[in-house]
């Protein structure tokens, strides 16, 4: 009895399977439409709209040219809650689950700044389709792909270069798209001129994009020199030998990394006058006293006016391998100082190099002559202005009184005899 029921049940299942499979098998070679053609019966119409008024048109040509089209995927492979045999389908479909095939990529995405923000309720944080597209997804090496090297700036800038989106998504860093566009990297990439120049993901990663506060981020404070060093190898090596790099190796992360001087997105060509002049202020954020005494010199005054022809901090101290004066390899060590001055002042002598570019008028120990000269000048200025200030005020008052009293004027005075 039991076995009879088992056979009957199995036969029924088999019958159902055969019945279900038969039309599908016969449809492929025969005239009956395939799944995609069935879908396109409605979705090929360019003006097609859902009941809610949303455009639902699909460009069949673009899909066919896409990586998924090339693999002959069916619409229902992604839109898995639709069945071509049960139409019309529901008004609202479930979101496509890319993880069905791209399990690893989606798992990585969950840990990115975008994935975390999405999970936390940020509705504008990018998901798969925002970067890769939908029906037109192409491989990154395809020049038409949104994720191709030359197109990534535009792809990321759809959000990170849009003021409204930046505000809406509370994006850290603000409108970085604009900054990048005008940066040396952005300019190099323009028109695909220099393909070795980095775009967004070269520094930030793709499915590993994390906020810089996240230690695992490529652009975290600790890792940024290595990230920049991927391309800038010589600078990376010099930096490691300099004072700033050494401080960081000793765990002092307050010491500057690449972006502290160069900025992150708005990086300027280092020869540009604007960068040369502006970076001085960056040095001054830590070395405030030295910036102040530098500004007292001709060098510092001219650069403050915006002209880069005069010595900046880096002209004397070097840039990536800046070292303390006590280090014999330093550009400002007693051994090297004269040669450093001679970079701009050919023919400079040893006594020329004993000029103090950071003399401090308030520091008697460091600059005694300078200190007393400054004191003398202060007293002289005070004395002259005080004496003549008082002299002038009194005189003005007296002559004004005389003038109003009418007993003295320019051309007919009363002094001496009358004319």
């Amino acid at each position: 009895m039991k076995s009879l029921r088992w056979i009957a049940a199995n036969c029924a299942v088999l019958a159902v399977l055969v019945f279900a499979a038969a039309p599908a098998q016969s449809a492929t070679p025969a005239a009956a439409p395939g799944v995609n053609e069935t879908c396109l019966m409605c979705h090929a119409d360019k003006d097609a709209k859902s009941a809610a008024g949303k455009a639902i048109a699909v460009d069949a040509g673009k899909f066919k040219a896409s990586v998924h089209g090339g693999m002959s995927l069916k619409c229902t492979d992604c839109h898995s809650d639709v069945s071509a045999t049960k139409l019309p389908h529901a008004d609202k479909l479930k979101p496509v689950n890319c993880a069905t095939c791209h399990e690893k990529a989606v798992a990585e995405y969950a840990g990115t700044v975008h994935g975390v923000a999405r999970k936390g309720g940020n509705a504008v944080a990018a998901n798969c389709v925002d970067c890769h597209g939908t029906h037109d997804i192409a491989r990154a090496k395809d020049p038409s792909s949104r994720t191709n090297h030359v197109n990534l700036e535009a792809t990321c800038s759809r959000c990170h270069g849009s003021e409204a989106m930046v505000v809406n998504g509370k994006m850290p860093g603000g409108n970085v798209g604009n900054k990048f566009h005008d940066s040396i990297h952005g300019k190099a990439l323009k028109g695909a001129a220099i393909l070795s120049a980095p775009e967004c993901t070269d520094c930030h990663g793709t499915h590993s994009i994390r906020q810089k506060s996240d230690e695992k981020s490529n652009v975290s404070r600790a890792r940024i020199p290595d990230t920049c060093g991927t391309c800038h190898k010589a600078e990376r090596a010099a930096f490691a030998n300099g004072r700033h790099g050494k401080l960081r190796q000793d765990g002092n992360m307050a010491a500057p990394g690449c972006t502290d001087c160069h900025s992150a997105h708005g990086i300027l060509q280092h020869e540009s006058a604007k960068f040369q002049v502006d970076v001085i202020k960056e040095c001054g954020t830590c070395h405030a006293d030295y910036l102040k005494t530098y500004r007292d010199t001709f060098h510092g005054q001219v650069t403050a006016l915006g002209y880069a022809r005069m010595a900046t901090c880096a002209s004397c101290h070097g840039a990536h391998d800046v070292r303390p004066a006590s280090d014999p390899a330093s550009k400002v060590s007693p051994q090297n100082r004269l040669a450093t001055c001679q970079q701009c002042h050919p023919g400079a002598s040893a006594s020329f190099a004993s000029f103090d570019p950071h003399a401090n008028r308030h520091d008697k120990a460091r600059s005694p002559f300078y200190y007393y000269a400054a004191l003398f000048m202060e007293l002289l200025l005070f004395g002259v202005f005080a004496f003549f200030g008082i002299h002038t005020l009194f005189w003005f008052y007296r002559e004004l009184r005389e003038k109003f009293a009418g007993n003295r004027s320019r051309d007919s005075g009363n002094h001496g005899e009358k004319h």
């Binding site: 500004r295 007292d296 010199t297 001709f298 510092g300 005054q301 001219v302 403050a304 006016l305 915006g306 002209y307 022809r309 002042h345 050919p346 023919g347 400079a348 002598s349 006594s351 020329f352 190099a353 004993s354 000029f355 103090d356 003399a359 008028r361 600059s367 002559f369 300078y370 000269a373 400054a374 000048m377 202060e378 002289l380 200025l381 002259v384 202005f385 003549f388 002299h391 002038t392 009194f394 005189w395 003005f396 008052y397 007296r398 002559e399 004004l400 005389e402 003038k403 003295r408 004027s409 320019r410 051309d411 007919s412 005075g413 002094h415 001496g416 005899e417 004319h419």
Partner: protein, 288 residues
């Protein structure tokens, strides 16, 4: 004195119904030197101030107007050169003329000398008494104490600013002779002394010479070279009486200033006044 005004000389002109005589105070050469000194001083001031106040927005604008750092630097050096030539010309001619004319002592002492003398101390004291209403308005000889101060301020400034300026202009050369800290001192005193000179000339010299109520708006004597008898008797009665006594007044009598020279004075002097006052406004606004 009565004799001088008793009869109207041919040179006397009617001015507001009053006969005016004029006496020569500055020679044409002195007037040209003053004009060149004035223009080069304003040029140095405007091209130098942007450095002292480099962190102010107006400084970058002013530097840009003057052709940027290179342009302003050229203006500064050209004006400095003119000023040094003016100074040297003045000193050389004063002594050359005095030695040739056998009156070197008159350059070094006495009423025609610029050297400060006991009378100047007395004059300062008398003037302050007059300021506070405790005495009559003092009368002066050819050079008042404030004019002497102006004059020596230029001398002092020429050595301090001119000397330090040359050091900064040719540092590699001068560093062969001088230690490095001299260049620290040079850049300090060049700026501070310049600030003193600019602050002094564009306020106190302007006030003493031009803007005070008795002279307002301008005294054109340094442009026309001529001082009216009225003005001489108003402020320089000591000189007037001395020259009369010595019989030196009549030879100094001159034609009245021409309208052209007067207008030249108003134009050039007025321009310097305006530029100077702008500089003072910029400086004062930057001190706070």
């Amino acid at each position: 004195m009565a004799m001088a005004t008793a009869t109207a000389s041919p040179a006397a002109v009617a001015l507001g119904g009053i006969s005016q005589r004029y006496y020569r105070r500055f020679t044409p050469a002195e007037r040209i030197l003053h004009a060149l000194l004035m223009l080069s001083f304003v040029g140095c001031a405007l091209s130098g101030l942007p450095l002292i106040f480099a962190d102010r927005p107006w400084a970058a604008t002013l530097a840009r107007i003057l052709g940027g750092f290179e342009g302003a630097g050229l203006v500064h050096r050209v004006c400095a050169f003119v000023m040094i030539v003016v100074f040297a010309t003045h000193v050389i001619t004063i002594f050359a003329r005095a030695i040739a004319g056998g009156h070197l002592m008159k350059v070094l002492w006495g009423p025609d000398s610029m050297v400060p003398q006991p009378q100047d101390i007395i004059d300062i004291w008398k003037n302050f008494k007059y300021f506070v209403g405790k005495g009559p308005r003092p009368q002066f000889d050819r050079w008042t104490y404030w004019e002497k101060f102006d004059y020596w301020a230029v001398f002092w400034g020429m050595f301090i600013i001119g000397g330090s300026g040359l050091l900064l202009w040719f540092p590699v050369f001068f560093a062969k002779l001088l230690p490095g800290w001299m260049f620290n001192i040079a850049s300090l005193v060049h700026g501070e002394e310049a600030l003193l000179a600019v602050g002094f000339i564009f306020t106190f010299h302007f006030f003493n010479g031009h803007l005070r109520p008795a002279k307002f708006p301008m005294d054109t004597v340094v442009f026309t070279g001529r001082i009216s008898e009225h003005e001489m008797k108003d402020e320089r009665l000591v000189q007037y009486e001395r020259l009369t006594r010595e019989g030196q007044l009549a030879p100094k009598e001159s034609t009245p200033p021409s309208d052209e020279s007067r207008w030249f004075g108003y134009l050039v002097g007025g321009l310097a006044l305006v530029l100077g006052i702008i500089a003072i406004v910029l400086i004062v606004s930057s001190l706070f």
